[in-house]
């Protein structure tokens, strides 16, 4: 069953009609039905293309959080061969919000780390809705160090509402875990490629996104705060989230303009949720291109370039 978003209502109605007609068509050979069907499909596609060509920031937020979008594990299962999940931070425990391990990407060994939010109630609970605890970030640090040690590149897949704001997380040093993750990213001697595949939620995202290449899917978002939280703080009214989403400049297109990300990966018509396979293929191709570019750079220069890239952020406007 396809899940439609509120703003897709007109397309949803058309597709319901199409679905019904397809049933009728099967049991009759009326040429008129086939012709009508063809026209309807064209109309639906046209509407979808038009809708997705000018999504508002708030609509993008909804698309980025769409339950049927491919999530971190979908990507890992699709393009990491021999994926061997590695568990635990060796300090406290295992966090299922962050999955990670070693595997082969286009034949080459890589470390892959992803934040998984789950796709239905059970998996969402299992992965804590993609909100990681300190042990998750500490596992990520361990895996990045492993990557440096064995000289294999790191791929991170980011999709999180943010780090888990719980008593347990604070008790075990959530802030320290995130700070160290950023530091570990910066100290990593191998290439790091990050893809924001859905929602890049603030500190919980940057902990795994201090990378050489930051790629974003076309309809993904990356924000310093959720539009809902921003709305309740600045507008003192939780219902202004749509306005806050616009003000925060959280779309991939805005962030590329501000030179805070490196590249946008185009999504299939109507968003990644409509054609996960195509989305996965585009992401795979973009990661390989980034790796090809980064692996040609000597380790020390790579690290220095990573630093310079972040130090330059925001600077171009004043210089």
């Amino acid at each position: 069953m396809r899940q439609f978003l509120d703003f897709e209502k007109s397309v949803a109605e058309l597709e319901t009609k199409i679905f019904e007609l397809q049933h009728v068509e099967q049991s009759s050979d009326d040429m008129n039905i086939s012709e009508e069907l063809k026209q309807l499909v064209e109309k639906a596609d046209k509407q979808l293309i038009a809708l997705y060509a000018k999504l508002t920031p708030w609509q993008k937020v909804q698309v980025a959080r769409h339950a049927q979008r491919p999530h971190a594990l979908d990507y890992v299962n699709a393009f990491i061969e021999d994926f061997t999940a590695l568990a635990g931070d060796r300090l406290f425990g295992e966090d299922h919000a962050i999955i990670g391990g070693i595997g082969r990407f286009n034949g080459q060994t890589v470390v892959v780390i992803g934040i998984e939010r789950g796709s239905d109630l059970d998996t969402r609970l299992e992965h804590n809705f993609g909100m990681a605890r300190p042990e998750g970030y500490r596992k990520a640090q361990r895996l990045m160090q492993l990557a440096s040690q064995f000289n294999v590149p790191v791929i991170t897949l980011v999709d999180t509402p943010g780090a888990w704001p719980g008593i347990d997380a604070e008790e075990r040093g959530q802030a320290e875990a995130i700070a160290k993750s950023i530091q570990t990213c910066l100290r990593t001697t191998v290439p790091i490629v990050t893809v924001i595949i859905g929602e890049g939620g603030s500190g919980g995202a940057i902990a795994l996104a201090t990378a050489d290449k930051i790629l974003m899917l076309e309809h993904s978002i990356y924000s310093v705060i959720s539009p809902e939280a921003c709305s309740s703080i600045l507008w003192r009214d939780a219902s202004q989230a749509a306005q806050a989403a616009g003000a925060l400049c959280l779309t991939a297109q805005d962030l590329l303009k501000f030179k805070l990300i490196d590249q946008i990966i185009e999504e299939p018509m109507g968003g990644a949720q409509r054609d996960p396979e195509a989305a996965v293929a585009s992401v795979k191709k973009a990661i390989q291109e980034s790796l090809d570019e980064l692996q040609a750079i000597p380790a020390q220069i790579l690290q220095a370039k990573r630093r310079d890239k972040f130090l330059a952020m925001g600077r171009q406007e004043v210089e």
Binding site: V224, L260, L311, M313, G314
Partner: protein
């Protein structure tokens, strides 16, 4: 005028009379005791009744940290102003202006260099009075400048933190100050320059989760709120009552996140001692009465 307003009014007036005049007296934020501001300032803004450490201004921090007349403020580099043209109920540009006027500061960070009991140091102070000490691009530039000055002078960097976290009005540019400030810390670490963080009330969000938690030594003022998520956010998420003393300095000490909880009065000698120990300069072992 009805009998009701007539009847109620005297009570309200009586209540109003108890209010404290603005600039002579102040109520302790914690125990509510009336304190003479002049006495309070002499006592480093510590309530003599309950030992509550009240917030301090940037100038007070410098005065309490450096040797008398020993410090010079640093001109901080420019940064993009209002890159998002952000507007909520109010324009961010207007908020900035108001905060500048109100706080007499240019941004949420002020940097100075001078001596602490004769030991050279660069000190960066986060100004909570400027937009809740939030971290935007200008803060990032200021922090990096502080680290670069410490590097150039080969002197330790001390940072007093006080912040509500990232500055939402600068969007992702604000979030990017997390890796940017961590890079500044990395430069110090590679050069073997001591980097000391003094946590003051409150330190939260992206500030705690970046440069603040990466100090070589962490000192906290008593009872300061230090955490990643704010207590209200946590309460709304877990629907549980927060434990007593949760996210306070003493709690962080117990949970291994800070080295020392020091009263404001011990802060200067503690910093000086650490600077001497880390600079490895021999000190005559004279007893101070």
């Amino acid at each position: 005028m009805s009998w009701l307003t007539e009847f109620v009014r005297p009570k309200i007036q009586g209540f109003l009379k108890k209010e404290v005049p603005d600039n002579v007296w102040k109520n302790c934020d914690s125990c509510g005791q009336m304190l003479l501001i002049k006495d309070l300032e002499k006592n480093l803004n510590i309530c003599p009744h309950c030992n509550h450490h009240m917030r301090a201004s940037v100038t007070q921090r410098f005065d309490w940290t450096f040797d008398p007349n020993s410090y010079t403020r640093l001109d901080l580099p420019k940064a993009p102003v209002d890159p998002l043209q952000f507007k909520d109920k109010k324009k961010y540009a207007d908020r900035l202006k108001e905060n500048k006027t109100k706080s007499q500061l240019d941004e949420s960070i002020v940097v100075a260099h001078g001596t602490i009991e004769g030991q050279k140091a660069v000190v960066a102070v986060m100004a909570f009075e400027f937009m809740a000490g939030t971290m935007g691009a200008a803060f990032g530039e200021g922090f990096i400048a502080a680290a670069r000055l410490a590097l150039a002078q080969q002197t330790p960097l001390i940072v007093y933190t006080a912040s509500g976290g990232a500055r939402m009005q600068e969007g992702m540019l604000s979030l990017m100050q997390m890796p940017r400030t961590v890079i500044a810390v990395e430069m110090l670490k590679e050069a073997g320059i001591p980097y000391i963080v003094v946590f003051t009330d409150p330190t939260t969000g992206g500030v705690t989760a970046s440069f603040a938690m990466l100090g070589d030594i962490h000192i906290a003022e008593p009872n300061a709120l230090i955490g990643f998520a704010g207590p209200r956010v946590i309460e709304n998420t877990v629907h549980e009552k927060l434990p007593e003393g949760f996210q306070r300095s003493e709690y962080l000490l117990e949970h291994g996140m800070v080295d020392i909880v020091a009263s404001r009065k011990e802060l200067r000698p503690t910093l000086a001692k650490i600077l001497r120990l880390l600079s490895n300069t021999a000190q005559p072992s004279e007893k101070v009465a």
